[in-house]
């Protein structure tokens, strides 16, 4: 059974931290091509890999991965601030 698409912010977060695909791949223990597949949304990661990636970015998993298309992080932060 093919799962529903999981959207992510890996490409943006990786660029922000000046990491190459290879650097990120080495940190989470996957092949660098797998990072490309994740960024293009062609592969849904396991929970284990999703948690490892979130840990590298130092963000909660729900800010990196989502079932819905991702909004810009700035918009997300405004929503969070408004909720408080």
């Amino acid at each position: 059974m093919k799962g529903e698409k999981i959207h992510n912010r890996i490409a943006v977060l990786r660029e922000e931290r000046n990491l190459s695909r290879k650097d990120l791949a080495d940190r989470v223990g996957v092949n660098f091509q797998t990072i490309g597949y994740l960024e293009r949304g062609e592969y849904n990661p396991s929970l284990d890999l999703a948690m490892d990636l979130s840990a590298v970015f130092g963000l909660p998993i729900e800010l990196v991965f989502s079932r819905q298309p991702m909004k810009p992080l700035s918009e997300e932060l405004i929503n969070l601030t408004n909720k408080r």
Binding site: V30, N31, T34, G36
Partner: protein, 146 residues
Amino acid sequence: MKRSLSLTSRRTAILTNLLSYPVMVWLIALAPFSQPLNGVAIGLSVGLFAATMLYLFYKTDLWIFANAPDDQLDERQNVVRNYAYRYAYILISTLIMLLLVYLMLVVDTGGWRPKLPMPFTTFFWIISSLILSLPSIILAWMEPEI
């Protein structure tokens, strides 16, 4: 050193490789063993097969990808490989079943069969080679980037 091949080159090599099987059978059927041309015919078709295999798998990760232990691949590579093995299994088992049905009909009804010098040896090598190479070939056909 690792070579990387474009998807078009890989698919061309795969089609040539698969085409070399019927060419091999056709050439062997054309030139009986007693004729000196037979050696050349077999040599040409086996050469075509070997050249495409070398082109596809020499210094690329394709063969390793299909045959490495699970822990040497990441989770996506394992998923892709499982998919390739599943399709290879379906293709090979269908091919073997069709061959068995054909042989059953030929034996029972005396239908047409190719006049090959060593039919069982020929089919043994073709099926064995397909069993060994098909998972890697499916991977080479599917993977957008290697």
